[in-house]
Point group: D2
Chain length 405, copies 4
């Protein structure tokens, strides 16, 4: 994260704003900055061309962020706003055209889920993208995406600096898993937890209505179990919650299967919630990666389903398992009210950050404060559920599950 080298100072449209950014500020000393409008801005709004791109998988709230970025840019007076279609791919794929954006165009896009601009994974070489940015004369690039896309955004930012282009690259973290370092919450997470209730309740109904019924719900969470933990806790209907951060055994005296048997014998049914990235040590490793460079995980949900079925068949006990994977139905939702507010603030701040002359930053909320953080800091590792935290203990209290070792 850095401010642009040569900045032109204009009067800010919001002169009641916070301190002016010192372009020479040392990010070592102040690596996190309070987000918001600044007294002085470093672009002449009428001359700015701003571009927005959304990358990776769907996440509730994408359209809210796009919408707010457009609204806020217009408030500054920017006339030339475009959307890059289908992620970074839109920079180079022939036949994909920039989409002109304005208040009229985006007015109601928040009423449906998905991304109005389209998303895609992966992309091209950084230099290719920056060539395109140069050719299109883009001054501000807003990247809404996950870890991989943030890395991409930072590479673009570095390349722009190298080429001495005055381009602000500002990101907004999109991870439904809520696994970005330093951030209290990322947009879409709250909606995902809410929407997951529907799947959990279905699993509960199916399990409870069946003889020795087992409901198994797989939720998102590649490396972090926040969705599974929160969804389990809020549902109050989960007996076993398995997340990537807490290892467990399936077999053996203290294994999950043994506990399942116990539940069928006592309670008569059981509902399980697993994060997709749980129990990776129990699966065969693969080294494949997807187009965004993420290691393709083996699907623990499906593995669990097979193990449970086989186990009860082997021991000759009836068990009626129903497996629910609501991933796409959760992802494709529109943002709930709480996420809509978060998206509004993050989107507005992204624009304030760009006008303040920042580049290589991302817009987030940290310890209840809205801030700008340097991209490299937040992508060093995913944020994890702390197995010693009160929240995880509350989850364990709620499920009543033992230590599976």
């Amino acid at each position: 994260m850095s401010t642009l080298n040569k900045v032109i100072k204009y009067a800010s449209p919001n002169s009641a704003g916070a301190e002016c950014i010192d372009p020479d500020c040392s990010w070592v000393e102040h690596w996190v900055h309070r987000a918001g409008p600044r007294k002085e801005i470093y672009y002449e709004p009428e001359e700015v061309k701003a571009a927005i791109v959304t990358c990776g998988g769907l996440c509730p709230g994408l359209n809210d962020v796009i919408r707010q970025i457009v609204f806020t840019l217009e408030t500054y007076g920017v006339k030339n706003i475009v959307g890059i279609p289908f992620g970074y791919r839109g920079f180079f794929e022939k036949g994909l055209k920039e989409m002109p954006l304005s208040r009229d165009v985006v007015e109601n896009i928040n009423l449906s889920g998905g991304s109005f601009l389209g998303v895609s994974r992966g992309g091209a070489q950084t230099s290719e993208i920056v060539d395109s940015i140069q050719a299109r004369r883009i001054d501000m690039l807003f990247v809404i995406g996950g870890n991989g896309s943030h890395a991409g955004a930072n590479a673009i930012h570095e390349e722009c600096r190298k080429r001495k282009l005055k381009v602000s690259v500002v990101a907004v973290p999109k991870t439904i898993d809520n696994d970005i370092l330093f951030m209290d919450k990322t947009f879409g997470f709250d909606t995902a937890v809410e929407e997951a209730q529907r799947a959990i309740n279905s699993a509960y109904i199916e399990a409870r209505s069946a003889y020795h019924g087992i409901g198994l719900v797989k939720l998102m969470g590649r490396s972090s179990g926040f969705i599974a933990m929160h969804a389990s806790l809020s549902s109050g209907q989960i007996d076993i919650c398995l997340i990537p951060e807490v290892s467990f055994t399936l077999d053996g005296e203290h294994g999950v299967l043994q506990h399942l048997e116990h539940l069928l014998n006592t309670k008569g049914f059981c509902v399980i919630c697993v994060a997709e990235g749980a129990g990776q040590d129990l699966l065969q490793k693969s080294n494949a990666t997807d187009a965004s460079g993420n290691v393709i995980l083996s699907d623990f949900g499906v593995h669990m389903q097979q193990k449970v079925k086989k186990h009860f068949k082997d021991i000759g006990v009836p068990a009626d398992l129903k497996y629910i994977d609501p991933t796409y139905m959760v992802r494709a939702c529109r943002a709930n009210a709480s996420d809509a507010i978060l998206c509004t603030v993050l989107g507005q701040n992204a624009v304030h950050g760009a006008f303040a002359g920042f580049s290589g930053i991302t817009s987030g909320v940290c310890n209840t404060h809205y801030v700008y953080l340097p991209i490299p800091e937040v992508i060093t590792a995913p944020k994890h559920v702390n197995p010693n935290s009160r929240m995880w203990h509350r989850c364990l209290t709620s499920t009543g599950q033992p230590d599976f070792h």
Copy 2:
């Protein structure tokens, strides 16, 4: 279907009711009877023990039917009402106890999905069940279940007649697929179509937001495509709808895959809705059956998913397929308002039928009239979508799909 041989006549609680049933009526002449209360009833309500059992898979409205049967029995003055847990299994499985039912117990069960009594597939020998009915001194048995369970109910009815037991066996058809002969609509169908919208819209959002996105939704419908057809039509978002009644080819010049290519090239994305029983001729046959005796179908949804992925990989065209199977989330829903009314009427009529002395009948709606039909008639074959019907043509007009041959 028949009326009980020896009937005792009591004054009906609803003397404004329809004609009295002639116990000698010939079902050949009048094989369908208008449902409703009769002037005379054939049981002394205070002496009746009534039992309710729910069989097979879940279906929205099960609890509504149970609730109305209990309410109506109480209106007649019946005091002894029990639920048999977990389908026919509850008649013989040790440790499963009858559940006493009353207005207080069932008052709010309609507010959640599933079956308050529990369901299960398959069952025991008919004679074993009738032994249990005798031992429990059950006078009326209400069976809510699908084709297989109706066959079971009829066998129980026949066995009771053979043993000269005065037991009324009255069924209510439960098939979310809406595939019961002669019946305008079965309960749960409307809710299923409604709830399927959520999955279809998610598939649409995913497809539209992706580069060459393909959304594939598998809906219920083993041998009949009513859910897929209605859900496609009402969504207005489906490009291709495939049902069991209409054969199609995947490959070849006029195949589905070719049309898919065309849609990706022109529209950029595509949403497909398949009934689970579609395209069985394209799959390898299996002879396996489930506990209810239904042939286990190969899963066409998964097959389609694999074929599409392979096809686009083979021809080197990017395609981003998202597969959604919302089956359990649809089944586990509570009934919507329209189904709630249908369940109310069917449940009430089931009780009226039993008190009128009928046995071996099922309660349905036929050509807008509520009727009793003899069980054997309705289970000879499933009802099918007529490929020449206006409704299927409307569906084709809506999707714009060609003839896939």
Copy 3:
């Protein structure tokens, strides 16, 4: 209803359609016609200018009908399709412009409630509107509206005939109350009943959670109680349902208030559902009319609220009444799946009817068949709930309410 006098015959795009309309057919003999495409059409699609107008209050499904009319017109090959904004007002109010319509414009309008074209009540003189139709060179006018707007549509049709204009005026009945003669169901009704559940359940929760709680829900139904009856029946939570067709007394030994007292004493709480037009004989008459010419009814819901509060205050019994009027929240919903299908068919048929050369007709479903009916026939009087019908008796059984006389 009549066919146009001088018709030009073109080949129908759907030659597999039904019989050709005989323009001389006697509507006395065949006053209802099966709806659908005809072999021959009476307009050259490429030359047609079609206009759509929505009148009166909101109703779920308006956008679905608009969308289908546009889709079907395009299927015929019509290029010139416009929306008249804000009801008949759009024909003469300065500053209101025709809205060009096409598949792209209306593709997703069904995803939200309301009317994409805008609605308004009342209008201008018929001659003024026909002047405007002439000036705009409109060949087909699709009117989606209630009783008053149907009368207007028929007057326009008559005026066009008088002026020998070849204009097809085809209506689609819009009445959330489901009170159109001969029609099984009008669009929006099903959604309204569904959405009313939310209000009823809130009233139930409020009543049950309060000491001597009374929940009072007012639903739509100016002269017909279909919504109140169906919503009460499907909720299973209503103790008293009052509709316009069934008179009742509030005071006296057999009055509603006495029954309320009884319910508070025995059950502890009570939930009431009233149609807005119920109990008009108990209110002071007004002769005022709204802009559509409907007599402005006194608000029985508010009257009831005041009477109940006063009564319990007078007799010194605590009672905690909560009044809920969900009208706008129900009206503004998008159509549910069942209504979406109904709207699709009605909209398609409206276009088929216009191309068949009909004018002065309305598109509906009658005894399960989709038909065209002459407008004057359906607007002679509103359809009413039959107090002797099985459905009303089922409602009474469900509420357990006595005869209030």
Copy 4:
């Protein structure tokens, strides 16, 4: 708030818990305590009789809190748990009986809104209640209620101390308005904001579909505008938001009505959100109070509705206003996922606090930490929206409304 004078120390069931409470701790120094289980507990669980009471109006999450208190008490080993029906009234009203509570009883109460125990406003003399507490041998009293009920709870606590009764009185703040001092958020607020979206969107649809349409939504907020502010911000559909904390004029050059005219002229429609307690200075004061002692506010929503209608009638400009008051439909909702977690933690902590020997405390979340606060501190005044806060400014940016002075 204080710890009980004479405490008996038992081993805590959760010995990994936080520091032991020092019963002599000075609340001046440490007036806020971190919530959670303590190493030592001051009651023998098996001897404890715990009572739960819910007071005031409904709020989403009441049942979640009740349920968690019961679950947590059972975890400690408490056998004797009762619910006091209908608020403080349940302590003295004849005929109201204690409700025995256990896991089985409360297992699924969170699936519906309202209060399982019933609520009511106001109550008896403190001494009367404490007499009842003594007579019933209650050791722990959990009060879930608003400001007035908190005052009541504290008075009960003081009276118990005076009588040297070893009774823990622990409160959980219930205010849908989110207006409790020091607390980040109170339960039900998030759900209310979410549910209010439905009303706002209906108002938007109605306004947008009408000629010069005005949608007016009144939301909860007697003295604080948090719900109106958050709901406006998250909807993105509000043009004017009026809250109690920010005064405004309706008339005059800079008044709300003038701005309304402007919006109708430019945008064609307008959506307004008012908190019920807004603009009290514009209304005639009343000195009446309700049973809980709250001053009865004049209804600003209705006042606004009348003023707007009159204004546009006076100036001869058409305006079509639709007024929506969704209060009961919002209050009666079940808690959303986010509130469900909050309720879980607050309920658990209430029990931990009682077992730790605290009395006169309330359980809340303060600056992201779960804490115990002394009741008198939190009820000195309601928490208000800060008109200089970033959140209010974001709301103004979102609505685009001017300063109405």
